[in-house]
């Protein structure tokens, strides 16, 4: 009797286990399913834009949806100018902060700094946009003596700052990954600590620094609320350096600002989805490039161990 009872219990347990393990496997592949699903829905709603709006209009220079001008060029250029600017500012700053944390700062400073960088990552972008609008933009307007502080430049500085937690944490991992023996060899040859960092550690972590840059770009190009609130949202094509200090309008801000007001199924609606699809494809490429760097590093590490 007891034996049978035990058998039964064991069987139900193994069934439960079977179910749980299946559930775990399904969760495991869910990430793939979700990326595919997101891609499909962006195509489903975005692709009609290319049939409903003539291609010549989409590639034109004028974005004025109320009168059916759907030129994407100013939005793409706007996103590019802000993103590239942010990447250029945040890479050296992030790298320097990572070097400071990993190589220079005494332990107690590091223990204070690292949580603060995490706090920065936790501040909602709408809060940064809010402060940017109320405090930062007026400062820029006065300091540069320009008509409005809501410019591409303002967006660049705030975005660069917001991308820093990403850049710093990736760069820190990179610096940590350089073997200690490399540093010791340099020091033993009589190099200063700075020479070791500049001539040995950074070159050894080259590919990782590249990855930090790409992830920072990915972070900056997708940022929405801050950009919408501080860049002034004028859809114009930048022509020169002067435009850096004028309002621009990015792809993300356009979607966020206009999607709430369009009729579902209208050309405008589909074009906004097409803009989203473009953003998805761009970040996909950037992240794949970053991922390939990671995998290449893993392979090299495996080779060294073998």
């Amino acid at each position: 009797m007891t034996n049978e009872h035990e058998e039964q219990q064991k069987r139900s347990l193994s069934w439960l286990e079977f179910l749980i393990e299946r559930a775990i496997q399904v969760s495991g592949v869910s990430a793939i399913a979700l990326v595919v699903l997101i891609f499909l829905f962006l195509i489903k709603e975005g692709a009609p834009a290319f049939f409903k709006v003539p291609l010549s209009s989409l590639f034109a220079a004028r974005w004025y949806p109320i009168e059916s001008y759907f030129g994407l060029l100013p939005l793409v250029m706007g996103s590019m100018i802000v993103t590239i600017g942010a990447a250029v500012v945040s890479l050296p700053l992030g790298l320097a902060t990572a070097i400071f944390i990993a190589e220079i700062a005494p332990d107690w400073v590091r223990d204070i700094l690292k949580p603060f960088v995490e706090v920065l990552a936790g501040i909602p972008s709408v809060v940064i946009g809010f402060i940017g609008m109320l405090v930062f933009a007026p400062l820029i307007r006065v300091a540069l003596d320009i008509p409005t502080g809501l410019t591409a430049f303002t967006g660049v500085l705030l975005l660069a700052w917001m991308a820093l937690p990403t850049v710093v944490s990736v760069a820190e991992d990179v610096l940590d990954a350089v073997p200690k023996t490399y540093r010791d060899a340099g020091l033993a040859l009589g190099m200063t600590r700075w020479q070791v960092i500049w001539r040995i550690v950074l070159p050894a972590g080259r590919s990782g620094v590249l990855m930090a840059l790409m992830l920072g770009v990915g972070r900056a190009i997708g940022e929405t609320m801050t950009v919408m609130m501080v860049t002034g949202n004028a859809a114009r094509i930048p022509t020169g350096l002067r435009d850096f200090f004028m309002p621009v309008r990015t792809m993300t801000a356009t979607i966020a600002a206009e999607m709430g007001e369009v009729a579902q199924g209208s050309p405008h609606y589909h074009v906004l989805f097409a803009v989203g699809l473009t953003l998805f494809v761009i970040t996909f490429i950037v992240n794949m490039a970053a991922a390939s760097v990671v995998f290449r590093q893993v392979k090299r590490a495996e080779r060294m161990l073998a």
Binding site: W194, L215, M225, T283
Partner: protein, 286 residues
Amino acid sequence: MSKFRLSRQTSQRIAFALISLAALVVVAPIFFIVGYIVYEGASAISWEFLTAYPYNGMKSGGLLPAIVGTLWLTAGTAIVAVPIGIGAAIYLSEYAKDNTLTRAIRVAIINLAGIPSVVYGLFGLGLFVIFLNFGTSILAGSLTLGIMTLPVIISTAEEALRAVPQSFRLVSVSLGGTHWQTIRRVVLPQALPGIITGVILGLERAAGETAPILFTVAAFFLPRLPKSVFDQTMALPYHLYVISTQVPGMPVQIQYGTALVLLIFVLSMNVIATLIRNHYRKQRFW
């Protein structure tokens, strides 16, 4: 030529000074932003501000519906993201072999983490609001935020699971434990503090997000509390956006007060996560 070169010690001093300055440039604004919002917003905070409905075109009253809405959304995000996220982390850490499928999963997670938040908003609008006909609702918003939060939870939970020493698993298996029993009784309890930390950090991000809820759940002005997951709701981040850009003549004090409440909500989650992590790191015997 070489006569004019800086000595090695001098160039080190200059480089270190510049680097320290850069670190200061990164950190100082954090103090400034948090400090300034506290300074300007503290006077707005009162019992009424936290527990009253807004009225008079949101220029008077309090934040109650926005606070409650954000609580609903945070809980909804947790319900969507935590089981799937931890399941995926267990799969990657305990089951996955080093093959093409696993690599594809990792690539997918990296990409999920990189998709712009406003694109999640579009996806949520297309799939949940329109295609599945949930309408603009807490359900649609929670699902959207949950999917967005998944990659954060998966990667931090996987890291916590992998940190559990292999010898623990071997002991359990050698005592006759099955694979799942080993995970359930040995690995998960050891990794739990790390997993909880990751979950809270993920929810913190979701709670502060605006772009994904713009078209999926957020209401401009709705002075009542949601009754079910099919209702629209106000939410703190969207409310801050609305009163700082869409409502002319808004008293600055209320704007800063709202920013402060949002900041406290989000950063207290951050502090809790850090405390949990530090507490268990000290206790750990491996």
